[in-house]
């Protein structure tokens, strides 16, 4: 009983949202040609899920999403750690200049450089998710208690090695927060890339449906990306719990 309640609490707002949405659609609070009932969307989603072609689109999106995120994670954490050490000032200037650029404007160049396949979309995801991770890592690393580093150096750990044995684990909480932000941005960006120019992926399905005003079909990818975001976040939360079991 208690367990049921415990799993229900986090789900409650989502359920509430669904109820409100459903009644909004059913009771005509929102025009049905703009907002379809969630039950219809869910039903369509369940119809589509076993469909091979739909799964292919889903797969394409996931490859771009996770591929881009993984690259941003590795690059962002490495650069952030390096920038936190002396001499990293130049790197931070570069970040300052590049971070606020709307990456979407670079997309034409990405397409010409990387082609119309995965690479250009992954590049866009990387460009959008890199900086949240990099900045979080940088600030986290700068705030590491110096005595932890001193302890490591005194124990014979080299400057470079201590980056991984001390700075990285001590920065992990900040990095994971950056990841959380970046992961959600990645979800949005991959859709944006697929909506602008693509012939596959969920974003493509969405813009196709939107252009022909098939609202139920349009909300299927939206619902799916929500679910993906939710699942990725749950995964991240587990990772966080495991990785930070000693801390906080």
């Amino acid at each position: 009983m208690r367990r049921i309640l415990e799993t229900l609490v986090p789900a409650a707002p989502l359920i509430l949202l669904f109820v409100v949405w459903e009644s909004a659609a059913r009771l005509g609070w929102a025009p049905p040609n703009l907002l379809p009932a969630p039950s219809l969307v869910l039903q369509r989603l369940l119809e589509l899920l076993p469909d091979g072609e739909f799964l292919h689109h889903l797969g394409q999106t996931l490859i771009r999403l996770l591929g881009g995120f993984a690259i941003a994670l590795v690059v962002g954490v490495s650069l952030g750690l390096l920038a936190s050490r002396t001499g990293g000032g130049a790197l931070i200037t570069v970040v300052r200049v590049l971070a606020p650029i709307p990456k979407i404007a670079l997309y034409p160049a990405f397409v010409l450089i990387f082609g119309y396949d995965h690479a250009s979309k992954i590049a866009l995801v990387v460009a959008d998710t890199l900086f949240p991770i990099l900045l979080a890592t940088f600030h986290g690393a700068r705030a590491v208690e110096p005595k932890l580093l001193w302890s490591a150096w005194a124990a014979g750990s080299g400057r470079f090695a201590s980056l991984f044995t001390v700075t990285l684990p001590a920065t992990l909480p900040a990095i994971l927060t950056g990841c959380r932000v970046a992961l959600l941005i990645a979800c949005v960006t991959v859709f944006l890339a697929e909506m602008i120019s693509s012939t596959d992926g969920l974003g493509h399905l969405l813009s196709l449906a939107a252009r022909s005003f098939r609202m139920v079909d349009m909300f299927v990818p939206l619902l799916l990306i929500s679910l993906i975001g939710l699942l990725l976040n749950v995964a991240l939360q587990f990772a966080r719990k495991h990785l930070l079991r000693g801390q906080s």
Binding site: P31, N33, V111, L112, Y116, S197, T199, R211, S212
Partner: protein, 314 residues
């Protein structure tokens, strides 16, 4: 919608306002009205216009469905889909641009000069660029491919380049055939190295590209207002055609394209066709709607009659 009122820049006095959506690059009538309002005696005095620019026609259908705008520029496909699937009810009141075989520019697909692709059929297995997958232009291309024995879904690899990115994609070798529209076609031609493969006039001589649409409920409620608007649109068309030099300036102000570039095609035979009275070509529209239905891009037959309100067009 009540929130829309707060966000909207409402006219302080009781001069009626039309909320109009527009886009670039080929709506000279609207650009004139935006940039040279003094040339229109009623504008600003009898009625006002709140302009909002959109990326493409589909968002404008959505905006009309959301009651966020009253009138907008549309293309046959987006209007047809809006009507068939979105429940949009609207009138087509003026035509911005179309094509006229032999007299005007026609959207075409280009290949590199030295490309082995010589005919449409040669496109089999090639990468073809299109502005937007599922757009009207795509539909007509698909029709042409079919007529040449190609299955547009299987026999070619399609990528979305958009009109602006088309030339660059072709030159970078990312596509084998690229879709060309003005002013990008002119720029590409002047640099050379490309060859026309086929154009939309191969399919039909009088493709309609953009026309003006107003919501039915809005028009029926404010017929006088819409009438004034349509009248001014026609005045703008006349002005645009008469005073080309000024039109070049106006368009340059709006699109920020340099006058030199515009001078190369705008309102010449390298440009789309405009009719003096800006009258919509309903027949051509119907023909296009039928093609789209044939291709499965429209779920049902859309009768153009529902978009007519002749008393406003005279």
């Amino acid at each position: 919608a009540f929130l829309a009122l707060c966000g909207q820049t409402q006219a302080a006095d009781d001069i009626p306002t039309i909320r109009v959506g527009w886009s670039i690059p080929a709506e000279e009538m609207k650009y004139w009205m935006m940039r040279r309002p003094d040339a229109f005696p009623d504008l600003g005095k009898q009625y006002r216009i709140a302009w909002t620019q959109f990326q493409g026609t589909a968002p404008m259908v959505q905006a009309m469905l959301s009651d966020a705008i009253d009138c907008s520029s549309q293309a046959p496909l987006s209007l047809g889909q809006g009507a068939a699937s979105g429940g949009l009810q609207a009138y087509v009141l003026a035509q911005h641009v179309g094509e006229r075989k032999g007299e005007s520019f026609s959207v075409y697909w280009a290949v590199a000069e030295d490309s082995p692709v010589r005919s449409v059929a040669d496109l089999k297995g090639r990468t073809v660029g299109v502005n937007v997958y599922g757009s009207g232009v795509y539909g007509q291309m698909a029709m042409i491919l079919k007529q040449n024995g190609l299955d547009p879904e299987r026999d070619i690899r399609l990528v979305e380049t958009g009109f602006p990115g088309s030339e660059a994609a072709l030159r970078a070798g990312r596509v084998d055939a690229a879709v060309m529209n003005q002013p990008f076609a002119l720029r590409a031609e002047s640099k050379g190295g490309i060859r026309k493969l086929f154009s939309l006039t191969d399919l039909m001589p009088n493709t309609v590209h953009i026309f003006e649409v107003c919501r039915k409920d809005f028009t029926d409620a404010h017929p006088e207002l819409v009438k004034r608007y349509v009248k001014d649109l026609r005045t703008a068309m006349a002005l645009a055609r008469e005073d080309r030099a000024e039109t070049l300036k106006v368009v340059s102000e709006v699109t920020r394209a340099p006058v030199d570039l515009l001078d190369g095609y705008l309102l010449t035979d390298k440009d789309f066709a405009r009719s003096a009275d800006a009258r919509p070509d309903f027949e051509a529209i119907q023909q296009m709607l039928d093609q789209y239905q044939q291709l499965g891009m429209l779920p049902a037959k859309v009768d153009v009659a529902q978009f007519r309100r002749d008393d406003l067009i005279q």
